[in-house]
Structures are given as C-alpha cells and as structure tokens.
Symmetry: C2
Subunit: 326 residues, 2 copies
C-alpha cells in the first residue's frame, strides 16, 4: 500500500532546528521515558571494517508515548579526512510505532546526532552541576563547541577554559565558544588548571588513556564525560570515577561496555550498579546533595535520544523536504 515518506536533508534540518531549550527538553523527556520503563532499546549493532579503518553503528529505541521510533545508521570512516570528507556522516529513519511504515528519512550527515549528543550534556548539567561561573572543555571538535553552547543554556557561565592537544585548535575553539555564548573564553594548556578553575567540565575527546586525574577533583565540581563511546576509549581515571560522590550513566548496560565504567570495572573498581540519568530526572534516584559534592555523568549516546530528536525534528520541520510516494 502506497504511503508518503518525507525526505529531509541536512540543510532542511539546519534551517529548522538549532540547539535551544525546547530541543534540550525533548531529549530530557527521552531520558525520563527510559527511566519510566517500557522502552525497548536493543544493544548497538556495531560493524568494524578494519580494512577500511571504518566502523558502522546502528542504534534504535522504541519509546512508549512517542508515535514513531528512530533508527540511526552512523558510519565512521576515519580515512575520509585525507579525501576531504568528514569521518562521520549517516542518516536517521523514522518509522511508525503503530504500523512500522517508514515516515521519514533524515539525510542529516550526523547533524541530529550532534544536536542530541550536546542536548544530553545540557540535561546532565541541568540535573547534576552546581552553580557554574567557569566551565571547562576538553577537546576542540564539533562537540567541544556544541557542549559548551548546550551547557551555557542551562548554566550560563561567565568564563570558559578550553584544553586540547593542539594549542591552535584550542584557541580557535575558545573563540567560537566566546562568539556563541558571550562568555570570556580562552585556551589553557594545562588540563589540571582547567579542572581546578571550573565547576563544570565536559570532556569531548577520543582519548584512549585517561586525561582527567583523581587529584584534580575538588569540591563543587560536575564532570560530563561524553568522549568515550567505544570499548577502547577512556577520558577519566578510574580512581577519579571511584572518588566522585555520585557517578551517573546515561544507560548502565552501555557504559559498562563502552563508557568510562568499562575501564573502571576492568580495574576492579565501581562494582555497584550506578543510577541512570533518567532516574535522576524523574526523581527515583538521588541527584547532587549539596554544592560541595563531586558528580560525574558518563554519556555513551542512546537510541532513546535519537527517537526523541527525530520526533522533535518532525514536529518542527513544517512542510520542508521532499515527499516521495513509496
């Protein structure tokens, strides 16, 4: 039976959607639904193409209360930059939760993923960070910029320090964050100093050895670690994770495989079941107790965020895109 499928491009989506509070709220609702139960979120399908220095991940989640569910295909082809192409691209598909019919294809080249990943950082900061005058960012890529902008929407910091392995990139990133947020931003070549000065630190690197050390923790600090999304990655020393007053996962079953929790467990630390971000949101797990606590949130990226952002995009997109009768 013929039905209409909407095809939306990255340009359509950039025109209709940007990182704002309603978008952050939509992703927050996704996490809340995850905690309320009834969500069906299978393990990530991950295909490594070693010959190509590439990897393809597929995520999906059915979320009760949403009319549709998203399925996302994220290829990472790490030889692409040498060809003048971005490493990451891909698309998202929206299917009816009633009939399974394809409702939309988002040829977004990863734009919706960028947005929902940044939004998750804002959700973590909203529910876990203390008052923030200075924010610290590790990393200098797209997510470094977006995480700073997202955090600023929920914790309007006055200052921002950026650390990266490349000083020039860190300076460029600091300039971009200053332009986007109005905060006083600068690059800082000492990651310890970034943490020391900040009440909120977001780590956005692909590090495979921990950068952020236990000794750098101080009272009144929240850290969101969003760089590690694969078994080989880690940004936070396991001892730091264990020393925090509160450690929170986006999804425990994922963090144990590909988040900071994996490395900590491998060292015999963090044996207890941590709470999930959604449980903090709906109040079934305790949040930060006081301004002095050290909290850490481990984000690996969930299919629930994809379903939430895709539904939000459909609601915002109006009549844009191409209709195909399939």
């Amino acid at each position: 039976m013929a039905h209409d499928v909407r095809i939306l491009t990255e340009a359509d989506l950039r025109h209709a959607l940007s990182l704002d509070l309603p978008l952050i709220d939509a992703v927050e609702q996704g996490f809340a639904s995850l905690a309320r139960g009834g969500v069906v979120m299978p393990p990530v399908l991950s295909m490594a193409l070693e010959e190509m220095n590439a990897e393809v991940d597929v995520k999906t989640a059915y979320v009760p209360g949403f009319d549709d569910f998203a399925l996302k295909v994220s290829p990472g082809f790490f030889n692409n930059p040498a060809k003048g192409l971005p490493s990451l691209n891909g698309l998202m598909i929206l299917l009816s939760a009633e009939t399974g019919l394809v409702r939309a294809v988002f040829l977004d080249n990863g734009y919706l993923t960028d947005l929902r990943t940044a939004a998750a950082g804002a959700v973590a900061a909203r529910h876990l960070a203390p008052e923030v005058t200075t924010a610290g960012i590790f990393g200098t890529g797209v997510q470094a910029r977006l995480q700073a902008r997202a955090a600023h929407l929920v914790r309007p910091f006055q200052r921002c320090l950026v650390w990266g392995r490349d000083a020039g990139q860190a300076a460029a990133c600091a300039r971009d964050i200053a332009a986007a947020t109005g905060a006083a931003c600068r690059a800082c070549d000492d990651p310890a100093e970034v943490v020391q000065q900040s009440q909120l630190v977001v780590t956005t690197t692909p590090a495979t050895e921990p950068i952020l050390q236990r000794e750098w923790l101080h009272p009144g600090l929240h850290i969101t670690a969003m760089g590690s999304d694969q078994a080989g990655k880690t940004e936070i020393a396991a001892a730091a994770l264990a020393a925090a007053d509160l450690y929170v996962c986006d999804r425990v079953s994922q963090c144990v495989l590909m988040g900071e929790l994996r490395a900590a467990r491998a060292q015999g630390l963090m044996p207890d079941e941590p709470p999930e971000l959604g449980e903090i949101i709906i109040g079934t797990a305790p949040a930060r107790r006081d301004a002095q606590q050290v909290t850490i949130c481990d984000l690996t990226g969930t299919g629930v965020q994809d379903t939430a952002i895709a539904a939000f995009a459909m609601a915002r997109i109006g009549t844009a895109g191409t209709r195909i009768t399939a």
Copy 2:
C-alpha cells in the same frame, strides 16, 4: 560535504528488476564471496515490540569486491493486516564501502528482500537439487509463488504440487505458479504426497512445529527450507534433517540461532559443523554426490544477499528515482 543520494521507490524497483537469471547470479556471487572470506556480517539486530505484536530486524554485510554495502531495516507489524496494511515493509540503504556516504535509499517495502530470498532458493536448487520433473511447495504466500518461479529458472520442472493449510489459498497459489511457469500445477491436501511425488521441495511456511517428516524422505530429493528465520520457527523434523545425506546452511552462525538447525541441536542432533551454501558454490565443500542422495538447504536470509541485490539494483536502475543533494 554535499553529495547526491538516490531515492528509489518500490514502483521504480518493480519496473527495473524482476526475478531472472542475472539476478540469481548476482545473489550467487554474494554467497560465493561469503565463502571466500573477508565478509563482515554482524549478528542481526532484532528488536521485539511485544506491545505492538511487532518486530524490527536490521541486517547488513560488507562484502569485499562490492563498491557499496547495504543495510536493511525490516519491520514486521503483525496487526497490520487488520488495518488493511501488509505486515512486512521496510527499506534498504546503500552506503559507499570507501567513504560510508549514503548512496541510495530503496523505499522498497520489502520487494528487494522478496527477490533476494527467492534468488537464494534458486541458488540452492541449482547447486543441490537433482533433475526435477515435479516440484513441491509448502505454503501459499508471496514466497511460495516466488520460490516456485525462481526454482523453475534453474530446474524447469513440468509439474508442481502446492500444499497449504487453506485449500482455497493453495489452489490460488497453484494457479499463479502455473501462469508464471507454464508447468502443470495443482493444490494437494496431503503434504506427504507432495514430498513423495517431488524431487525438489521448497518450504515457505511460518510453522512453529515441524511439517515435513523423516518418513517422507526418498532417494533423489532436495529440500530447501526457507520459512524458519526466527528462534520459534521450524518446518522440518529434526530426524529428517539428521537423516539427510547432506545438510547445508546459508550461514551456520544464523541457522544455529534461527534456522532448522536450532531445533535439531535442541534435540541433541546434528552436532557437526555443516557446510555453507557458498562453500558448495566455490567448490570447497562437496555438493550432491549422486542422483539418489537426499539434500537439505536451510535458508535464514543473510546480509550478504541484501548487499548483492542492492548492488544489482543500482546497476539496473539507470536514471530512475529522485536525486536529493544531502
């Protein structure tokens, strides 16, 4: 970086592709590549939505020698017929194996899956069946018709017997097969007689209890079992599987989870590692030895078939479809 994505509908694909020998050859090449090694085919991502009486399967395979690889999303929403919609639909995506960029989206509602599934039956018959004067078909759905047509292309039988639980449906199916193949076809209400009279039997039912019994096997018989593609399904008695001279899987790792092999292993039978269809094709495993043997091929459906059919579709499609700059 903007790139062109081709959007093709079921109508485009029905116009350009039908079940013919070049299409069967293309799927055969996929199986051959699987046997030659280097194929990356992750386990099927399967999401059961019990609340909806639905299931979503995702398959993909990277096949060396193909410029692109397919990823297929197959939703099965089994309450759809009551709403006047087909249970099965879905889409296929073609991605560049060099860059991961999306090259095409096939909004095919499962048409390519129908073709590649039928083609696999023809490949099995070509390499395993003896001479066939009478073909037997269990089941009366789309695949019953397509499997008969596909088999006729490689084993041009003169007669065809169709068994199904509903006599009217079986008669309609027999009429359609007669019209498509020119063979003398009739419905038969005794599945044992169908097997007795046939040299090639294709089982295409969603049975959850075995239909085809060990006592019905006779010299000079090939059976292709393609109905079982999930853990709960089985069409062939485990004792029949064990009694065959040769049992072949499309992919052992899948048959053991969702094919006939699963039920047999659960009964402690078939402990040895069976050969795969691709190994028969490239000659690294022995095929039928003589006209008297009983052979069985267990087809669960592989991502390799999807990549092969999608590549074939792109080669055949000409300038059809809609180009979207993403």
